[in-house]
């Protein structure tokens, strides 16, 4: 009597087809069906089915879409007429939530620009998600447009602008001013209008103008894919960790290290200035990266 095979062996045998039940079943009862006649072109019937669906859809689509569009317009207009009057003082949005932002905003967050106070201190979790939306978009465009690293492809996409004099002189004057203005908008985010997002976009536009005027070669040594990843890592990690620290302290009632400082001074408003700087860097790199990816498939 052969020894009882262990479960492991029996499983392996079951899997490795030591015995194949189908042979017994198929064998005696009825001869195995002859191999199915291979259909000449198996793509054809399924294609007809989808094509026929598609044609019906194609004809019905514009009427359906116009109907849906009209319905939403009427539906929304009816809803809008019921809204509180525009510009009035006693509307529901002018409630205790907005009151505290305005009355205590400067003392609690230290930011003179209350909008910066709201997005970077009161409702900071939204903006934490926000800067990661931009990172997601950059990675998605990287997946799509990044070409494989082979030197054979020259910069086929570079602008064939004959580096003419007008653009280069204009750029040599404008780029420093744009980048300076962008830095001003970032660093004064908590004092005047602006902040990380708009300042970063302005600096990004400055970099793009530089790349258009003087070509990518000069920028490539410093701003390539490797340095991008490190910059994004540093800025976003700083952002996430500092915000995690302030959320943790806030939730457990601990006092954070950052003090709002005296409002109006550049180094005030606790964490808002460094956060604006970090967001500004990420936005500038993303904008330049998107431009370079669209332009020539590599950063």
């Amino acid at each position: 009597m052969e020894r009882k095979r262990s479960l492991k062996e029996r499983l392996r045998d079951w899997d490795a087809d030591a015995f194949d039940l189908t042979n017994e079943i198929a064998g005696p009862m009825h001869p195995a069906p002859a191999a199915l006649p291979e259909r000449p072109k198996d793509a054809e019937p399924e294609d007809a089915l989808a094509a026929e669906d598609f044609r019906v859809l194609r004809r019905a689509y514009p009427i359906l879409a116009a109907l849906l569009g009209l319905m939403t317009v009427v539906f929304l207009l009816v809803a809008v007429f019921d809204l509180p009057p525009f510009g009035a003082a006693g509307t529901p949005t002018d409630n205790e939530v907005a009151l505290r932002y305005v009355r205590d905003g400067m003392t609690e967050t230290g930011a003179v620009n209350l909008v910066a106070g709201v997005i970077l201190d009161y409702r900071a979790f939204d903006t934490l998600g926000e800067s990661h939306v931009l990172f997601t978009a950059l990675v998605a465009v990287l997946i799509l447009l990044l070409k494989a690293e082979d030197p054979a492809i020259d910069d086929e996409g570079t602008l064939t602008l004959r580096q003419d004099r007008i653009v280069t002189t204009a750029a040599s004057i404008l780029v420093p001013i744009i980048v300076l203005f962008g830095l001003y908008v970032i660093l004064n985010g908590h004092l005047g209008p602006g902040g990380g997002f708009s300042g970063g976009a302005i600096i990004g536009a400055g970099l793009i103008l530089y790349a258009v005027a003087f070509g990518f070669s000069r920028l490539e040594t410093k701003l390539n894919l490797g340095s991008f990843r490190i910059i994004c890592l540093a800025a976003l990690w700083f952002y996430s960790l500092s915000k995690c620290y302030s959320f943790f302290c806030g939730a457990n009632g601990l006092h954070t290290v950052f003090s709002p400082g005296t409002p109006g001074r550049i180094l005030s408003a606790g964490l808002i200035l460094p956060l604006n700087a970090a967001v500004g860097i990420v936005v500038a790199c993303t904008m330049y990266g998107l431009f370079s990816l669209f332009q020539r498939g590599k950063i």
């Binding site: 859809l57 019921d82 949005t93 002018d94 939530v97 009161y122 990172f135 990675v139 998605a140 976003l236």
Partner: protein
């Protein structure tokens, strides 16, 4: 020690964000290890939060920052949220492990780590959607989820997936545009963004009869927006392309988790923002009920007509989403309980089906049903797992699908006026499910004389491990469903 668990939702969200940014820097293999360990850690953290919720027995509101209720952002977690987060993390882990074989083939060598960046971002948005207590934060993380799941889709660089990604993106953005407009109208009328204060303001307005049309339209817009994004009946046309042509791991994550994240947010909105009496009193739930029923029937019929097995599974997923909204629209008590139970069932079963179908497709060498004849003999484990998943979809006893269908039947009795319609819809869809799934199972088990190489267990170890665990999850919940149902009942009461 248990008291410290209250910080774990914040830690899990921030950890995911850190790992997502880190994975962009690492090489493919290291990024995979980081992502898999991240899913594991998030699962453990979610389990701890579940223990904390059970111990305190109440929903805790965790202020994100120094400012309480209507001023700062908040996270809210009772029992249902950590349970759903736990299931999401575990299923994502198993999907990534199970789909390894196809991932190695489909991903370009240079962009492998970018795939895992997208997986981490999908996970963080699912966690945020489960835990958030603020409507605008929900919108921001819906956008992250849209772009990241689109990234998961287009990683397989064949023309068909790029087209599917574009159509998926456009449909999703219509949905989030309507959701955004709903949030704005709600803010305009109540002045609040945090769910608890929104609920109080809406209840007061609903009694006072003020701004009623604006409230109704905001509620409809948000519901329709989320329904479009998770693929309810008239907006399920993007589903077959999206799920059929992507790698099985992505298809599992997209169909099993992403659409469930949106539906769970809708369930949170129904309980936490609109309030059951406003939502069910205003007739919006009947709209969901009708579209859910239509979705079940149309989804099942078009699945039966489909010859390509992957598209068939995608259409059956549209039918299952129809079930979800069918339950939500039925009744606030038992109907919602059946819907959230079905949410977990589908989150566990559908990835199992897609992974097994991926393996069977390779064993059979084709996508069409008739080319799959005898495929189960070439790949035994995949055949077994596929049939188990199919049994759960049909609702054979001992599987989780049976329990969820049973819960739907119970819920039907709670609403006697619609009893007959509900039972007919359930019966018809079960028959249709049985028809098109059994057709495939019979096909893959009919013996085909000619010998093909056989895929043994050792060659596909990652798939075997993950599908076995998914099957165990399914069967264990199917056999011992009562504790899970009680848990969900308590969770819903705390939502």
């Amino acid at each position: 020690m248990i008291a410290f668990f209250v910080n774990f939702p914040l830690f899990s969200i921030v950890l995911c964000l850190l790992c997502a940014v880190l994975c962009a820097l690492l090489k493919g293999k290291a990024a995979r290890i980081v992502s898999l360990s991240l899913c594991g850690v998030v699962a453990v953290l979610a389990f701890c939060v579940l223990v904390y919720g059970l111990q305190t027995g109440a929903a805790t509101e965790y202020p994100m920052g120094h400012y309480p209720h209507p001023w700062g952002n908040e996270l809210r977690f009772g029992i249902a949220e950590p349970l759903v987060a736990l299931v999401f993390a575990v299923v994502m882990l198993l999907c990534l492990i199970g789909g390894k074989q196809q991932l190695d083939v489909d991903l370009e060598p240079g962009k492998r780590n970018l795939y895992y960046v997208m997986c981490d971002l999908v996970l963080v948005s699912l966690l945020a959607l489960a835990y958030t207590n603020d409507v605008f934060t929900g919108y921001v993380f819906i956008e992250i989820c849209t772009i990241a799941s689109c990234g998961l889709l287009m990683i397989r660089q064949i023309g068909r997936t790029t087209l599917a990604a574009t159509r998926y993106m456009i449909f999703s953005l219509i949905g989030s545009g309507l959701f955004l407009l709903g949030v704005i109208l709600l803010y305009g009328v109540t002045g609040q963004l945090l769910m608890p204060s929104l609920k109080a303001a809406i209840a007061a307005l609903w009694e006072g009869g003020q701004y009623r049309t604006a409230l109704l339209s905001a509620m409809t817009l948000m519901t329709v927006g989320l329904a479009i994004k998770s693929g309810l009946f008239p907006f399920h046309l993007w589903m077959p392309d999206t799920y059929a042509y992507s790698t099985p791991a992505s298809a599992g994550i997209l169909s099993g988790l992403v659409s469930k994240g949106y539906s769970f947010l809708l369930i949170k909105l129904v309980f936490g923002v609109f309030g059951t009496d406003v939502f069910y009193g205003s007739g919006v739930s009947n709209v969901l009920y009708v579209f859910g029923a239509l979705g079940i029937i149309v989804g099942s019929i078009s699945a039966a007509r489909e010859k390509d097995v992957f598209r068939m599974i995608a259409f059956s997923s549209a039918a299952q989403i129809g079930y979800l909204y069918f339950g939500i629209g039925l009744t606030p008590a038992l109907g919602m309980l059946a819907a959230i139970f079905h949410l977990l069932t589908h989150a566990v079963t559908k990835p199992l089906l897609f992974l097994a179908a991926g393996q069977l497709g390779e064993a059979a060498g084709g996508r069409l049903r008739h080319t799959w004849r005898g495929a189960a003999h070439r790949n035994r484990t995949a055949g077994l797992m596929f049939s188990l998943g199919a049994f759960s979809m049909i609702g054979i006893p001992l599987t989780m699908g049976f329990v969820s269908k049973y819960r739907f039947a119970l819920a039907a009795f709670e609403r006697p006026t619609l009893l007959v319609v509900t039972l007919i819809v359930l019966a018809v869809s079960t028959v249709l499910n049985a028809m098109y799934f059994m057709r495939v199972i019979i096909g893959i088990y009919t013996p085909v004389p000619e010998r093909r190489t056989r895929m043994t267990l050792r060659e596909q170890r990652p798939f075997a491990v993950s599908s076995l665990l998914l099957a165990l999850l399914n069967l264990s919940a199917g056999v011992a469903a009562q504790p899970l149902v009680l848990l969900l009942e308590r969770g819903l009461s705390l939502l």
